[in-house]
Every structure is written in C-alpha cells, then in structure tokens.
Symmetry: C2
DNA sequence: GTCGGATATGACATCGTTCCCACATCGGAT
DNA sequence: ATCCGATGTGGGAACGATGTCATATCCGAC
C-alpha cells in the first residue's frame, strides 16, 4: 500500500517492462532478452531480471507484443450453438488443443445467424487472431476472413472446399452405414429426417441414405424425406404428422441429434414402441441416446477430436500459409443399441 | 492483384489508419475522429473517410487501440468442463450477453485442474481483459486476478465471497426442496450423493439436505451420505455398492447432473424400478432427464441466465470498480417428473 | 480593423513491447 | 601496441491507434 518512488505508482498500475528494468538496474532491451530468451543475457543478469519480474508480478502485455511482432497467439472459434452438445464438445476439443499449442481461444456462439457470424468475424479481424476455426453458416465468413489474410479451417461442414482447409466426418459413409443397417434388418419404408441439404453435411447424409436404399434394391420415396426446421419443436411436429399419417414408415433415420430428439419425443407421445413399432437411428451420438431405454442406435463421430484436429490443422496452416488446402475426413462408426430391430410383421 | 503506389503494398498487408488517411487525403487524426465519432469531422470529410475505409476494407486494430486506451473490450470466461451441459449452457449465456454488450469472449476450459486454471488466468492477465468470470476450482484465481486489478465474478460457486462478486443459485433452498419432496412422499432413508463439500455448492446442498431431514423429523444417517468422485464412473460404482448393500435407501438425492447420471446407470444395471423400488431426484436439470423414462425429477437452475447474469454483473463492476461486492442468488425450482413416488410398502 | 468564438484539421507524443543497430569491454593472437 | 571476434548491453525506432494541443480559417460583432 505504500507509494513508492516519484511516479504515481499509487494504488496499482500494472508493472511494465520498464519497471522491471529499473528494479533490476538494466535496460528494457536487456529485460526483453532475458525474459524471451532471444539474444544475449549474461547468467547473473538474467537471474536478476527474472527475480525482479517475479517480485513485481510482471506479466508481459500481449497486446503490445502482438502489435510489435504482428503475430498473435490467439485463435478464433466460431460455433453455431453451444447448447447443442455437438458444438460444446467440439469447442472443448478445440480448447484443449489450443491450450496445448499455446494459443488462447476467442470463442463466439453465432446462434446459427449469419449476422452474428459476420459480427464475430469482424471482431476476430480486429483482434488480429492468428487463425479461425468455424462451423460456417454461409460461405461469407471464410471468404471474408481469407480476404483479410486470416487462415481459416471449416469444421463439420464446408462452404469453401478447395480454397480453405476443412475437417469433417464421413457423412456419406455414416449415413449409408445407418441406412444399410435398417435395410439389412428388413425395413423397406425408411424415413429420413433432415434439416437442410444445402450444407455439405445435409447433402452428404442425404446421398448416403439414397445410396444405401439403392444398394438394398429399394426405390426412394420422396414422401419419406422430411425437411424439418433446425429445432426440436419443429422436428417433433413433423414427426407427429408423419407417424400419425397413413402408411407410416417402419424406421426413421434422423440426420442429427436435434432431429433425433424431436422424433424420439414424438414417438413417445404417440405411445409407439421402439423398436417394436418403429426403429430409430441417429447421426451424431448425443449423451441422452445412451441414457434412454431402449438406447438409440447412432452414428458416432469423435466430436472432441473434430475440434482438436481442426486446431491442429489451423496450426499447420499458420506455419505454411501457402500450402495447398486440405480436407481431413474423420471416420465414424455405427453404435448399435436397442432402438433398431426387424420391422413389425404385417 | 496490381501493386499500387511505391510502398510494397504488394500481395496483402492489412490496411492501417494511415492508408485510409492517404486514400481520403486527410490526416490520421481526422480519420480517427471521423470513424470513432469523437471530435470534429466535417460532413463532407467524414463521408470521404468512411468511403475510403469501406473501400479498403479497413478494420481498426483492437490491439493498438487497447494499448493506447488501456482498456480492452474482451472478457475472459473460465469454465471447468465444456462437455458438461451445465458449463456449456453457462458459457452460451455468457457468450450471448457478452456479444450484446460489445465484448468479445476469451474462453478456456480449465478441466477442473488448478494448474490449467492458473495458466489460463495468466494468459488473461497478459491479454489485459476487462474482466473475468470464472467457475473457480480454488481461491487462487480470484486472488491472482484481483491482485492484477482485473475485476472478477465468481459463478456457480464462491471462494472469495465478500471480496469479489458472485452469481450463484439457491443451493440450500434447492436441496431442501428436493429432499423435502422425498420426505413428503414418505421416504425415511434418503441417500445423498455428493462430490465435495468444500466448495460452496456442495456445502450448501449438503446443508439443505440436512435441514430438510431435520424439518421432517428424521435423523441424518452419515452412512447415507456418499462422497463420490467427480465423474460418472465413480458415482456409478458407489451407487452400485450402496444399492447392492443391505438396508438400501428408498430414495436418492444426487447433488448434480453427473452424479445423477452415475446413479441412474447403476439403477438401470441392477434392474431396479424407478420410482417403484427407488426414487431419484437430482440437482441440476440436464437434458437427458426429460428424455428418459421415467423422467427424472430435478431442481432446475436457469444456467443460461447464470452465465448471462454474471457478464452483466461484470459489466457493472467494470464501470464501478470501487463499489461494494455483491452476490446475486438466482432462484431454482423443482421440476417434478416421474422418478419420485411413495416408498415401496414394507 | 481587430477581437473572439466556433468550426475544423494536423503534428506529435504516447501506450508496452521488440529488435536492429551501435557501442563497450575483454582476452588472446598477431 | 593493435586488431579481432566474442560477449554483453543500451538507445531508439518502430508497430497502429488515440487524443491533446496548437493552429488555421471563417464569420459576425464591436
């Protein structure tokens, strides 16, 4: 609490490199060299500096450093919806990997809105982040960030394949796996619940579904492909409609965990038996799927790893800005639980 | 792609305020005034500047600005585990509120480790964030950050009540609510699953449990209070032990969603009926609790709002650094589902 | 015709770092 | 004695923004 020296150190001004220099009786340059390890600093002097720094509780100003060096140690992470366990886990993976590589993570939840996404992107440009990983809602983000010279990695889905790096999962394979599983059990009327087919995820999963049907010698019935909105409420509503209607399917493949939740709730409300009346398989293995009874079969993706891999890719990209862009595809696997069985006998 | 002027603008250097100034034919000062709106700028000039800035795609460097102004527009958010829906939702709430108030969010997952927490805290000091909200693992963070003059808000649990702000929920009330509910149904052997009782959350929930027992005229049996580890696996193991043992309880109150999951799984594995053989109520209403059947009764906290409120509190604190510290307590409510009923007849 | 306020703009120091350069000292070789 | 490389250290100019201050011009009032 005692005020020291002539400068109004007063209550508490953060110590700067200058304060450390004075305390150690050397110049700012020397302190910088001693602390960063770049350039000469005699053993005894280095020790003195380190001691002074520790004593003052000196923490170098990342802003000033970044400004001078023109490279930041922060990466931006843009995800659609942290409340969805998929994105939360992806962010968790990114966080761990970022920490391990010495990056801090600037995160924004873009709420599936293109506007929030642009705003966030601009903030990241202002912060001069070293790179960004994003689950894009449009092609605008990647374009915008790239135009500002910021490396981008698109995760989960891609809008700018070819011009930016991507880390995705085997959507087509996964969808085929899930659908084939149903076909193999003898189902012939298999519905697909999907939110959009413009994004790569939706498109690929739809394709995988169709491929599996074709491979099983089934003709695809467009009436069985339900374009749902992105939320549980809408999915549930549409599932109720479909399951109440005539000629209902004997199995449903839900293209993501949110849609699966809607379908699951609808099934429960209608008092239908799973898998007795209807089989259900989901893309993306959310925690609840292993908690409910019967457990829901699902295509599991290593979401945590998806985030971690994206940060690794970004790190490499930052090191080699001019290298050709790469899309990494992570494998998925089908987790069979109790929600899938033979269709009911006629 | 054409190189312009004498300076090596070359491929792409980010435009600075100087570039805008030259393009608009004015000085840097004028550009600054025109863009920030602080100080004079004639209508025509302002327009010219804005146009030049837009044309160049100029985005002010937040680093330089922060360095000069000595105040940043970033807040730090430190959470224990993004994979836990509780923390994910808290982060989501913080994110939305941060965006609304014009802050960017620097987030770190501290993995329940004190070491990661300190590291992250130091990074936040280096970044000169305007403030930090944290779900603390120890008292060290708040102390450390405060000593560097950074405002802190502790969320969910408090280690530094009195000296820093806090935003928590009515833990004691909630636990009493849950336990009383069981007592009211006629249960006399009610187990408590809890991970630790050093943190305020654990302590208060334990107290609430005890109070409810006392109010119901029951004597607390220490053998019914299970100190579990923090993960599902351990909780499950201990639940198996207890439920297999003699004289098992007729009801369990799990002090958080992770413990509840362990207990739920154990019950399922043992083939016990809920609520026929055993009633279950949880603190913290995780998504799966409304998905499973029977639904799990739970003390619901508005977790999203918890994060949002913390950011609001932080914002106020930043504005008034010297004001007395405040602890905000959010209300909880008991959501009754089907996992709680009268104890089995003897 | 000069004064003074309003209106506008630019020069320049500054924030906390880094790092290029100049410079100092020293021991040993010529 | 002089020169040289090796070993250290400090001075000072950046980085990109802001904001204070000085200054320039104009207009109307005395």
């Amino acid at each position: 609490m005692t005020t020291e020296g002539r400068a109004p150190l007063g209550r508490s001004r953060r110590p700067t490199i200058k304060d450390v220099a004075e305390a150690a009786g050397v110049s700012r340059s020397t302190v910088s060299r001693a602390l960063t390890g770049r350039g000469y600093a005699a053993g005894e002097v280095r020790e003195r500096v380190l001691r002074a720094a520790a004593e003052l509780g000196y923490v170098p100003d990342a802003m000033a450093r970044t400004l001078k060096q023109q490279v930041s140690r922060s990466v931006g992470v843009l995800v659609s919806d942290l409340r969805n366990p998929f994105y939360a886990e992806l962010a968790a993976g990114a966080s761990r990997e970022a920490r391990e590589r010495g990056y801090t993570m600037v995160l924004a939840d873009t709420s599936l809105s293109a506007e929030a996404e642009s705003e966030a992107a601009e903030a990241l440009v202002a912060l001069r982040v070293a790179g960004v990983i994003v689950t894009p809602n449009s092609s605008a983000v990647s374009t915008y960030l790239s135009s500002h010279g910021i490396p981008v990695v698109e995760v989960d889905r891609q809008f700018a394949a070819g011009s930016t790096d991507g880390v995705v999962v085997g959507n087509r394979v996964g969808a085929r796996l899930a659908t084939s599983h149903l076909v193999g059990l003898g189902h012939r009327r298999i519905a697909l619940f999907i939110d959009e087919t413009d994004w790569t995820t939706g498109y690929e999963r739809h394709q995988g579904y169709l491929e599996a049907l074709a491979a099983g010698g089934l003709t695809a019935d467009p009436g069985l492909v339900v374009s749902s909105g992105w939320d549980v409420a809408d999915s549930r509503r549409r599932a109720l409609d479909m399951l109440r209607g005539p000629d209902r399917p004997t199995a449903v493949f839900a293209a993501n965990n949110v849609l699966a939740e809607g379908v699951w709730r609808a099934i429960g409300e209608l008092g239908l038996g799973v898998p007795g009346d209807i089989s259900l398989v989901a893309f993306d293995d959310a925690p609840w799927m292993s908690m409910v009874s019967p457990g829901v079969s699902a295509v599991a993706q290593d979401t945590f790893n998806l985030g971690a891999t994206a940060v690794r890719r970004l790190h490499e990209r930052i090191a080699l800005p001019e290298a050709d862009s790469v899309t990494t595809v992570l494998n998925v696997r089908l987790v069979e639980r109790e929600s899938t069985a033979h269709p009911p006998a006629l």
